[in-house]
C-alpha cells in the first residue's frame, strides 16, 4: 500500500460514515431526543409510531435507568435530551429536585391512576410493575406454596439465589429502598448474611433471568415481574411469585427536561405515551398500563388475582434515604469483600 492510497483511505474512512448516515444526531427543531430505560421493544415501537404520525425524527437512547441518569448527569451543563423515561420513580424525583424537569399535564392523564403521578406534575407514571421473586417450578422453592422474602435470604436457598444489582436496575433499586423502609436496621445483617450464604448479584434483570432459565440459579430476589412474565411464554418452568409480606410496586415515570430543545414535540410525545396505542403496547410488554380500561396481558392476569399484597412506602422518606442507601448497599453488600461459605455440591 503506498502513501497515496493511504491518503485515499483516510479520506474514505472519514467520509464513509457521513455517506451511510452513521453520524450522530443533530439537534434540529424537528428532532426529538428521548432517553428511555427498557424495555427496548416497547420504546422502539412507540417511537416508530410517533415518528410516523408526526413526521419527525426521534433520536433514542435506550439503556438502563442508571445509564440514562449517567448520561443526564454528564450533560448537566449541556443538556441534549427532551424526554426521559425511567424504570424508577426515585430517579425522576431526584431529577425534579435538581430542577431539571418542567411541569406538564399530559392529555389523557385524567384516565390514569391519579396517585401514581408526581403531585406537582413534573413527571407522570406511564406504567407500573411489581417486584417480587422468580423461581423454577422444578426446584425446591418452586414447590413451596407461600413464599416470603426471608426464604431466599437464608441458607440453603441463598446460595442458589441471584439479585439484580439495585444500582443497575431501576426497579430493583426502588424495591430495595422500599424494602429497607420496611425492614429498618435489620436490612444490613440480613443481606450480609445472605451474601455470606452465597447470594449473587447480576448486572441487570435479564442477566439474572438468563441464569434462572439455564438453571444456574433456583430463584431471583427482587426481580421485576414483566420480564419474568415475558420469559414464561417461552420457558414455562419459570414462575413469578409475590411474597406474602408484600411485593414492591415500581412505576415508570416520563418527564420533560427543563432545557428541552423541542418542548413542543416533547409534550406531544408525552401525550402520545398515554394514548390508547402506546398504552396497549405497554400492556403487551406485560407491564401494568397507567391508563384505565386497558387490559393486562394474559400472562399477568394468570399470575395473580386482584392485586397481591404491596409493601408500604413513604415516598418522601424514601427519596431522602435512597442515595445514601444505594451507595451503602454497593459498598457494604454488593461489592464488599464478604468471605463466602463454600457451596455444597449442586443437587
Amino acid at each position: 500500500m503506498d502513501i497515496r492510497s493511504l491518503v485515499l483511505l483516510a479520506g474514505l474512512a472519514v467520509g464513509l460514515p457521513s455517506l451511510t448516515g452513521c453520524t450522530g444526531p443533530s439537534s434540529n427543531d424537528d428532532t426529538l431526543v428521548v432517553y428511555s430505560a427498557g424495555p427496548r421493544p416497547l420504546i422502539e415501537l412507540v417511537v416508530e409510531e410517533f415518528e410516523a404520525r408526526h413526521d419527525v425524527r426521534v433520536d433514542l437512547f435506550a439503556a438502563t435507568t442508571g445509564q440514562v441518569m449517567a448520561k443526564l448527569e454528564a450533560e448537566r451543563y449541556r443538556n441534549r435530551a427532551d424526554v426521559v423515561i425511567f424504570a424508577s420513580e426515585l430517579a425522576a424525583e431526584a431529577l425534579k429536585r435538581d430542577g431539571r424537569l418542567r411541569p406538564y399535564r399530559p392529555a389523557g392523564v385524567e384516565q390514569t391512576h391519579p396517585d401514581w403521578h408526581d403531585p406537582d406534575g413534573y413527571f407522570h407514571a406511564t406504567a407500573a410493575a411489581l417486584v417480587g421473586v422468580a423461581v423454577r417450578k422444578d426446584r425446591p422453592l418452586g414447590g413451596s406454596g407461600s413464599l416470603d422474602w426471608p426464604d431466599l435470604m437464608r441458607a440453603p436457598h441463598a446460595e442458589r439465589t441471584v439479585m439484580p444489582s439495585p444500582s443497575r436496575s431501576g426497579a430493583t433499586g426502588d424495591f430495595l429502598v422500599n424494602f429497607a423502609q420496611v425492614q429498618g436496621d435489620e436490612l444490613w445483617p440480613a443481606f450480609i448474611d445472605a451474601r455470606t450464604d452465597g447470594l449473587d448479584f447480576a448486572a441487570a434483570n435479564s442477566q439474572a433471568i438468563g441464569g434462572l432459565v439455564t438453571g444456574a440459579y433456583d430463584a431471583i430476589l427482587g426481580v421485576v415481574d414483566y420480564l419474568v412474565l415475558r420469559q414464561q411464554v417461552r420457558n414455562p418452568e419459570v414462575e413469578m411469585r409475590y411474597p406474602t409480606s408484600g411485593a414492591a410496586m415500581v412505576r415508570r415515570p416520563i418527564g420533560i427536561l427543563d432545557e428541552a430543545h423541542a418542548p413542543g414535540l416533547a409534550e406531544a410525545f408525552v401525550d402520545f405515551y398515554f394514548s390508547e396505542f402506546a398504552q396497549e403496547a405497554v400492556a403487551e410488554q406485560h407491564l401494568i398500563p397507567a391508563r384505565e380500561g386497558i387490559a393486562n396481558s394474559p400472562e399477568r392476569q394468570a399470575a395473580y388475582e386482584g392485586m397481591p399484597p404491596i409493601l408500604a412506602l413513604d415516598r418522601s422518606q424514601a427519596l431522602a434515604a435512597q442515595n445514601r442507601l444505594l451507595r451503602q448497599f454497593q459498598l457494604r453488600v454488593e461489592r464488599a469483600e464478604i468471605p463466602r461459605a463454600i457451596r455444597s455440591p449442586a443437587p
Binding site: 493511504l6 474512512a13 453520524t23 444526531p25 437512547f61 448520561k71 451543563y77 451507595r327 464488599a336 463466602r340
Partner: protein, 567 residues
C-alpha cells in the same frame, strides 16, 4: 530560506510564530486532546462544581474517599491484584522467553504464535469464556463431571481473577524477556565463563541483573494494564467478590446513584499511581544502568529430551489455558442451541442474528469496523507528523511535548474517558462531538495515537535529518518535506502501527461504553451489553466474529509484507 529578508521586517512575534508553527500546532493538538480533559478531571476532583462555574466543595470528594467504608480496601485490592497479576505473569512468561531465546526448543515459530493469540484476545472475552467454563453447570461440569467446589471457589476469588488477567498478559513478559535475552551480547557471558564462572554463576551474576530492566518494564506494563483494566473486574469481579478501582469508577459514572465527583477523585488517584509507577520505574532503570548493544546471535543451549518435553509442555499448557479453553467455550457457546445432557444441539441462529443486515449486531459490527479503520488511519498520519515535529524540536519544549504525547499511554483509559466526558460537556465548548459517533473517534485517536507515535519515533531516531535539509535547501516546503521525504521512510513502521491500532480499537471497551452516543453500539459494547442482559450466546457469536475479523486483517498484512525485508 526565502523568508529571511521579509522576516527581518516583520514584527518579532509574528516571525517567531511562523517559524514555530508546526510546534505550536502540535502543542495545541496535544493539549486539546489529552491535556485539557485530564486537567479538567483534576480540577473537577478538587472543585466538584467547577463545571457549573462554582468553586464550592473544595476537596470534598477526596474527603469522601477517606470517610466511605470499603473504598480503602478497594484501593488496596486494586494494587494487590495488579501486583499479583504482574508476579504471576512473570512466573508464566519468563520461562517462555528463556526457552525461546536461549534453547534449541523445536517449533519456536508456533511457540511464539501461541504467545501472540492471548495478547490479541480481549481480556474481557477471555473472562467471559472462563465464566462459561467454570460456572455452576458450565463446560467443566458438563464435560468433566462436577467440579470440586473448592476449585470453583478458588477460581471465583482473587487468585482466579488474577490468573485470568495473567493469562491475558504473560505474552508481553515472554516476548520482552526473549528480546532482552537476545540483545545481551554473547561476549558478556563468554567473558564470565572464561574467568571460570559456571552456567549458574553466569546466570546469577550476569544475565539476571542485565535482564532486570526488561523484566521490570514488561512488569510495569502488565501492572498498569491490570490496574486500569475494566473488562475483567467488571465481568468477574462481582462474582469473585473482588471490588476493583476501574470497575468502581465505571459504576460511579454509569449507575445509579451517580457520583461524578467521587469518580473524578478516584480517577485522579489511579492516574497518580500510574504516573508514579512510570516515572519511578524510569528512575530505577537509570540506576540499574543497562546499555544498548548491537544485536548478535546469542548462545543457545542444547536441551536434552526430558528438558525439551518439559519446555514444550510448558508452552502447551499455557496455550490450553490461555487460548484453547476460552476459545472452545466461546465458539461452542456461540453455536449452542439447547443444552440437553452433555452436548448441546447446534445452531447458527446467533450468528444469523448478528449478521442480518439492519440488525443491532450488524450495525455494531459495521460501526466498529469503520471506527477502527478511521481511527487507525488518522492516528498514523497525525502520529507520524507529531512524532516528526517533536523529533526535530530541541530543548525543554521537546521534553514537554514528549511527556504530553506519551501521557495517554500511561493514563488508564477509563480515566481519560471520564476526562473526555467532562471536557466536551462543559458549557464553554462551542461545538461538541459528545453524543455523536465522532466523540468515539476522537477518544480512540487520543488514546491510541501513542502507538503510532512510538512506532514513528523508533524509525525517526535512526533517520538522518540531512535528508530533509537536502530537500529544504532545494526549496521544498515544510509540508512537501514531510509528505515526500519523511512519510515514505516511515511507511513500514506506520503500516505496523495501523495494524496495531486497528486491532486494539476493534476491541476497545471502556472508552466506548462511556462515550457511546444514543442508539449506537460497537462490537465490544454489544458483547458487554449482551452479557449484562444474560444473552451469552449472542455475545460469544459477536466475540468470535470480532476476533476473526481482526485475525483476517492481521493475516492479510502478514502476507502482503512477507516478501519485503523485515523492518
Amino acid at each position: 530560506m526565502i523568508t529571511v529578508a521579509s522576516a527581518a521586517t516583520r514584527p518579532f512575534v509574528l516571525s517567531w510564530a511562523s517559524t514555530r508553527l508546526p510546534v505550536l500546532l502540535v502543542a495545541a493538538l496535544l493539549l486539546l486532546g489529552a491535556g485539557y480533559p485530564l486537567a479538567l478531571l483534576f480540577l473537577t476532583s478538587i472543585f466538584p462544581e467547577i463545571m457549573g462555574g462554582r468553586f464550592e466543595g473544595f476537596l470534598d470528594a477526596y474527603r469522601r474517599i477517606g470517610e466511605t467504608d470499603g473504598i480503602g480496601s478497594m484501593l488496596w485490592n486494586s494494587f494487590a491484584w495488579a501486583g499479583s497479576t504482574t508476579v504471576v505473569s512473570w512466573i508464566l512468561g519468563v520461562p517462555c522467553g528463556y526457552l525461546l531465546a536461549r534453547t534449541n526448543l523445536p517449533g519456536k515459530l508456533w511457540a511464539r504464535l501461541s504467545l501472540l493469540v492471548p495478547i490479541m484476545t480481549p481480556p474481557y472475552i477471555a473472562a467471559l469464556s472462563y465464566i462459561l467454563v467454570m460456572q455452576d453447570g458450565g463446560f467443566f461440569d458438563q464435560l468433566l463431571g462436577p467440579m470440586p467446589e473448592a476449585l470453583r471457589a478458588w477460581f471465583f476469588s482473587f487468585w482466579g481473577v488474577t490468573l485470568v488477567m495473567a493469562l491475558a498478559s504473560f505474552g508481553y513478559v515472554a516476548l520482552a524477556t526473549e528480546a532482552a535475552l537476545a540483545s545481551i551480547p554473547r561476549r558478556l557471558e563468554t567473558a564470565a565463563a572464561q574467568l571460570g564462572a559456571s552456567w549458574g554463576q553466569t546466570l546469577r551474576a550476569i544475565i539476571i541483573p542485565l535482564m532486570l530492566p526488561a523484566l521490570f518494564n514488561s512488569g510495569l506494563l502488565v501492572f498498569l494494564e491490570a490496574l486500569s483494566n475494566f473488562g475483567v473486574p467488571a465481568v468477574l469481579g462481582t462474582r469473585a467478590n473482588l471490588p476493583l478501582l476501574p470497575a468502581e469508577i465505571f459504576y460511579l459514572v454509569t449507575s445509579w446513584p451517580l457520583d461524578l465527583a467521587l469518580a473524578t477523585a478516584l480517577s485522579s488517584l489511579l492516574c497518580l499511581v500510574a504516573l508514579i509507577a512510570l516515572y519511578g520505574s524510569r528512575l530505577l532503570a537509570s540506576f540499574m544502568g543497562g546499555g544498548r548493544y548491537e544485536p548478535e546471535t546469542p548462545h543457545q543451549f542444547q536441551l536434552g529430551r526430558g528438558a525439551r518435553i518439559i519446555g514444550l509442555a510448558w508452552f502447551a499448557g499455557l496455550f490450553v489455558l490461555s487460548t484453547l479453553l476460552p476459545y472452545f467455550a466461546m465458539l461452542v457457546t456461540s453455536i449452542a442451541d439447547q443444552w440437553q445432557g452433555a452436548l448441546p444441539s447446534l445452531t447458527l441462529d446467533h450468528y444469523r442474528a448478528i449478521l442480518t443486515p439492519g440488525s443491532r449486531g450488524s450495525e455494531a459490527l459495521f460501526t466498529s469496523l469503520w471506527l477502527a479503520f478511521a481511527a487507525a488511519t488518522i492516528s498514523i498520519f497525525l502520529g507520524a507528523w507529531i512524532a516528526y515535529v517533536i523529533s526535530r524540536t530541541q530543548g525543554w519544549l521537546r521534553h514537554a511535548l514528549e511527556g504530553l504525547a506519551t501521557l495517554p499511554r500511561v493514563i488508564p483509559k477509563i480515566v481519560l474517558a471520564v476526562g473526555l466526558i467532562l471536557a466536551w460537556n462543559a458549557f464553554w465548548v462551542p461545538v461538541s462531538p459528545y453524543n455523536t459517533v465522532w466523540m468515539l473517534l476522537l477518544a480512540y485517536v487520543v488514546i491510541y495515537i501513542t502507538d503510532a507515535l512510538n512506532y514513528a519515533n523508533s524509525r525517526l531516531q535512526s533517520m538522518d535529518p540531512a535528508l530533509e535539509h537536502a530537500a529544504s535547501i532545494l526549496g521544498a516546503s515544510r509540508w512537501r518535506v514531510f509528505f515526500q521525504v519523511v512519510l515514505p521512510q516511515l511507511k513500514p513502521v506506520l503500516l505496523a502501527a495501523w495494524l496495531t491500532t486497528f486491532i486494539v480499537t476493534m476491541r476497545e471497551l471502556v472508552a466506548s461504553i462511556l462515550l457511546l452516543p444514543p442508539g449506537l453500539d460497537t462490537s465490544a459494547t454489544f458483547i458487554f451489553n449482551q452479557f449484562e442482559q444474560g444473552d451469552l450466546a449472542v455475545a460469544m457469536a459477536m466475540a468470535s466474529i470480532t476476533i476473526a475479523l481482526s485475525s483476517i486483517v492481521l493475516v492479510v498484512f502478514q502476507i502482503r509484507s512477507r516478501p519485503r525485508a523485515p523492518t
